[in-house]
């Protein structure tokens, strides 16, 4: 048995993702946003999080996935990583699970259209559940903000 790692589970489309619980500050419901002009397309705006102004990233847009309208299940996961504090819009977020580090494999080159460098690995949970672990530092890499990456599905 390897170490246990607590991750917050969220969904983008049919895929399930995980992000380490230490990097998550809170999970918020969708709320009105203030658009930031001239910002990259995947930055949906800024919100007032109890007195702090926090930029919000649409994770689907960030990964070049097809964007969908937000629903009641949509959530904003406020994360802090690589000295940034940002919110990530996800389709839903409703689970915290323990992952055994022994069950984490390095990601293959392409998983569901997302570049491998955004991923830390793929964890197997239980018998058939697969969880994609996000590499937040890469997702928030500022040098990439200017050049939006699009993928052919």
């Amino acid at each position: 048995m390897g170490e246990e790692k607590k991750v917050i589970v969220f969904a983008l489309g049919s895929e399930e993702y995980g992000v380490e619980v230490e990097k998550v500050r809170t999970i918020e419901r969708m709320q009105p946003m203030t658009r930031v002009p001239k910002a990259p397309e995947f930055i949906k705006g800024v919100i007032n999080l109890r007195g702090l102004v926090i930029p919000i990233i649409d994770l689907r847009a960030r990964f070049g996935l097809q964007e969908v309208a937000t629903t009641d299940a949509s959530r904003i996961i406020i994360v802090s990583a690589a000295e940034f504090e940002v919110g990530l819009i996800v389709d839903s977020a409703n689970d915290v699970i323990d992952v055994d580090t022994d069950n984490i494999n390095t990601p293959p080159e392409v998983v569901g259209g997302i570049k491998a460098k955004y991923l830390d690995g793929i964890a197997r949970v239980g018998e058939s559940r697969l969880l994609v672990l996000l590499n937040l530092e890469q997702v928030l890499n500022r040098s990439e903000i200017q050049q939006l990456e699009r993928f052919e599905d």
Partner: protein
Amino acid sequence: MELNQYLSMFIDESKEHLQSLNENLLNLESSPKDVSIVHNIFRSAHTLKGMSATMGFEDIASLTHEMENVLDLVRNVKIEMDPYIFDCIFKSLDALETMVEDIIQGGTGSADVAPIVTALGSIVTGEYKKAQPAAAAVAVKEPAKGIEVDEFQYSILQQSIDSGFLVFYIEVSVNENCVLKAARAYMVFDAMERMGEIVKSTPSVQDIEQEKFDRSFSLYFISKVDQATLEKEILNVSEIASAVIIAVDTESLAELSRPVTEVETARKEIAAAVAATAVTAEIVAPKVAEVAAPAAKPAAGGGAPVASRTIRVDIERLDTLMNLFSELLIDRVRLEQLASEVRRNDLTETVEHMSRVSSDLQNIVLKLRMVPVDSVFNRFPRMIRDLAKSLDKKVDLVITGAETELDRTVIDEIGDPLVHLLRNAVDHGIESISDRIAAGKPEHGTIQLRAFHSGNHVFIEIEEDGRGIYRDKVLKTALKNGLVTQEQAAKLTDLEVYNLLFASGFSTAEKISDISGRGVGLDVVKTKIQMLGGHVQVDSKPGFGSKFSVQLPLTLSIISAMLVRLGSEKYAIPLSSIVETSSIQKSQIRNIQGSKMIDYRKSVIPLVSVSSLFDVPDFNEDAEDETEIVVVRKGDKQVALMVDEFIGQQEIVLKTLGKYLTGTFAISGATILGDGQVALIIDPNALIK
């Protein structure tokens, strides 16, 4: 022991002590006879030593310990301060500052302070006085480190040598971590007295017994035992690190004792000189005291330190308080709205009361962040002293208004630009002593450093009585660097010419000395001050000096702004850059070479559509016959911004957009409105090229 939690306190307090050491030392330099200042210095040094020892910063502790030894002698009037001692102690303070800085940077605060420690040690033993004249005359022989002997002791030594006894000069050092130094010293004395006679020891036997010595002591010893046995006997005592034994003969004895007489005469001379100055000082003193009295701070004057009525608060906690408070303000606005809808008397009254309380609270919260500029100014006297000394100039720094308060965020940033301006004033403003005399000015140049409130701003002025700025020279450089055309140059007022010094192209001038070096890096100063929302300008009278005047906002956290609407979006424009708001008809808009312009007060200024610039989805000015405009300025350039509607003027709490969104076009930050929504703050400077 877990000491990390005390670290920030230690750093703050050490900085304070170092600052007060610097200040007091400067005071002492101007009135060297005032023992009460020495007491103050000693107290600070002692506290610093204790603190650093507790925290485990041994190098700081040992250096302050050496400093204390010197100060102790001064305090007890055993020695008098002289330029060498001043320089030594100033150097020690610099070393201590470097070490504390190292600790702040996460280091261990260790440094090689051996040369300074040696220098301080030589002051304690009095050796440095011998070293100075001796060095001038002949290269000092290695053993000539000797200790002073009086005539009687000298004759004993002389006679002993003559009658065949062996005379030794011995330096004994105990181990660094020796626990009972005095006991070890006693054992050494005991062993030696069995073999011969000790003529003189430094420090004195009493001092050694009371452990009033650092690690080593020196003595003259008469004996019949040979050097090797002597060494063996001394080193037999445990915890003795080394024993340097030098055999003394008639010749070297003369060498060792010669400086003593010199020192004697030198002392007499100094005493005479001091007496002479004391007389003049007495005549001048009442005058000086009169002038100095109102300016002197109660704490600085010596005597018992004033009991502290303040507490230290982490700036982050204040920020949190500020954030929480702005939320309260937002809720207040909501409550006010609700109360006006519900129309219940008791509710309205309660809400009104709450509004009053919260605006009082707002004032207090803002005041908590205010810090006197003194905390920045207090490092300048020392800086000016060193600078003047190294440039061989005489400069007086006169500080006024040090109690003027500014927001902590401004205080943190303003130090560097001021250092730059002050250096500039000493380096390039104040002339050399000979030039000043030639110009019929007093030898001492004067730099006035003033701070004062005016409206919603704080002004800081730096004025010197130096050579001033010459218009022609500045213009020549500006023309050469292409900052102005010949045509423009002729039209510029003097003030405009001087302000060219701040232009960014100016500092790259090849031969800075052409215009007495003015303009070196002044563009950086200007950028920094503008970043703080302030302005800087310079005025000068050629031959009589120049004045740099810095205008700063009281606080960075709250500004007055005009809220405007663009369709469904709201934006804030800082009031400080707004010239005027008005409205224009569509027919007034002119098209000049593809860009929109309007006539505005006898000049034609560009008209900028913010909505198209920001791609606002649900608003476009083109549909309107009449458009509201906001005229903003940057320097002397003006631009009219088209907006949908004015919402009104409001005090807003500044929020950053965070690190992730740095460099966003034309947006300098955000604020939270009464309804909890975020509104972005437009940076007009980015809209004006």
